[in-house]
């Protein structure tokens, strides 16, 4: 369970969010620029909220009053970035294994081969990110985040560059991750159909600008 009560600020942009997320998948929906990616960054520990607190399964990740702010690497929260952020100097395989290899055996809930087959990226293993197409990058980024078997998976428009066939393959997989491995997710998307497939719980974000 994720309890959020924070205020995010970026320049003139201010977004106060209060929410209690109980279901395993929560969709996040909102216009471009409304603060979806910023929210995920804040949860992952990359963006420090102005104030408030973030509590995940009883553990305080951030609390401005108690001056608690766990580092991203201590949170074990997987974030799939909107723009991939693949490591340009590492092969696809090394990108995929980057988080995975830091886990103990018991924490590894997936197999490399399995994930890659599903995402159809096995043939890309030895490539560098710059040698990938847009959709291939996106699939590798998704694979990297999932393989890290996080306590909470943050997905920022994970399927936006993919064709319908691939979407139709990957969505059921995410449903399996939700049901079998029981990794809770926040799912940002502009496609209501994708969100609908995974959950009925949706947060609608509306930003306000400081003046």
């Amino acid at each position: 369970m994720l309890e959020l009560d924070i205020v995010i600020q970026r320049g003139d942009f201010v977004l106060p969010i209060q929410a209690q997320l109980n279901s395993t998948v929560t969709g996040i929906f909102g216009a471009s620029g409304c603060g979806k990616s910023s929210l995920l960054s804040a949860i992952a520990g990359l963006l420090r909220p102005q104030q408030g607190q973030i509590i995940l399964d009883g553990q305080t990740l951030f609390d401005s009053r108690k001056k608690i702010n766990l580092a991203p690497q201590q949170r074990h929260i997987g974030l799939m970035f909107q723009d991939g952020q693949l490591f340009p100097h590492l092969s696809v395989k090394d990108n995929l294994l980057y988080g995975y290899q830091r886990l103990s055996r018991s924490e590894q809930h997936f197999h490399l081969a399995e994930i890659c087959q599903l995402l159809e990226i096995s043939h890309l293993f030895s490539r560098l990110p710059r040698q990938l197409s847009g959709g291939e990058k996106q699939r590798v980024a998704l694979g990297r985040a999932v393989l890290y078997s996080p306590r909470l998976l943050l997905l920022d428009e994970p399927l936006s560059s993919l064709d319908e066939t691939r979407k139709a393959q990957i969505l059921p997989f995410l449903a399996r991750v939700r049901d079998e491995v029981k990794i809770p997710m926040l799912y940002v998307s502009h496609a209501l159909s994708e969100i609908d497939y995974l959950t009925k719980d949706i947060i609608y974000l509306n930003s306000q600008t400081k003046d």
């Binding site: 992952a44 520990g45 990359l46 580092a71 991203p72 690497q73 949170r75 074990h76 929260i77 997987g78 974030l79 970035f81 952020q85 490591f87 340009p88 100097h89 980057y98 988080g99 830091r102 886990l103 560098l128 990110p129 710059r130 040698q131 990297r144 985040a145 890290y148």
Partner: protein, 234 residues
């Protein structure tokens, strides 16, 4: 190909040894300093930055003389080092390495710092969300991406060390087989009325050594750039 006299061999080997040690010993502190200067804000940062650079802006005899004051047998640090560890930099090749190091450190630090500054911090963030702690981020992301700068730094450091004259002769003097590197040998013959022929030979030896270092570093950096994807879209 010409044959080298024993003295020439000795100067060549010594130069290679001093420049190699200078680069190897210097690269780690250079990376650490570069990283500090590129990524951290702290009190005294400007001062640290300046201190590293000072040897560059003074005539090399001055750093050489200051080294003598500090690291000579009777220097504060030199005395202590000798009593505590039995180390001595005075009048030996280690002192030549130290002198080279002081002169080439600013060059190493600046190149590496530049490259670290140009590494996208968002990639470091991405690594953190995958469980990498600060050290892992440094070694798996920042430094590999800054590798071109580290190589340039190493090359500049090696080159500067190969050419180092003033600080070396002032700190450790010109002792055959011990501190007489190629520059010191060249200086000595070039100041003799009929030394030009000998100087030419020594200069050619220096150039060959430098050229080899340059080619090697270019080869590495080319491979690296291909790997890191800096060179154009394939």
């Amino acid at each position: 190909m010409m044959y080298l006299s024993p003295e020439e061999w000795s100067a060549l080997k010594l130069s290679f040894k001093v420049a190699s040690f200078c680069t190897l010993v210097g690269i780690v502190p250079a990376i650490a300093l570069a990283w500090l200067l590129a990524r951290k804000q702290f009190w005294g940062k400007a001062l640290l930055d300046a201190t590293i650079h000072l040897p560059m802006v003074l005539p090399p005899v001055v750093p050489g003389y200051l080294l003598l004051l500090a690291f000579g047998h009777n220097g504060v640090i030199g005395h202590w080092l000798f009593n505590t560890f039995g180390w001595s930099f005075a009048f030996n090749w280690k002192g030549a390495v130290l002198a080279s190091l002081v002169m080439s450190l600013p060059l190493m630090v600046q190149s590496i710092r530049l490259a670290i500054q140009l590494v996208d911090t968002r990639l470091e963030d991405a690594a953190r969300t995958l469980g990498a702690n600060n050290w892992s981020v440094l070694f798996s992301i920042t430094l590999p991406l800054a590798l071109p700068g580290i190589l340039v730094g190493a090359l500049l450091g090696f080159s500067r060390s190969l050419g180092e004259f003033g600080a070396t002769i002032t700190f450790v003097g010109n002792i055959a087989d011990e501190t007489r590197t190629l520059p010191l040998a060249i200086y000595s013959v070039i100041h003799q009325p009929d030394g030009e022929a000998m100087a030419t030979r020594l200069i050619i030896i220096s150039l060959l050594l430098a050229f080899a270092a340059l080619l090697l570093s270019n080869y590495w950096s080319q491979r690296m750039q291909q790997r890191l994807g800096y060179q154009s879209h394939a």
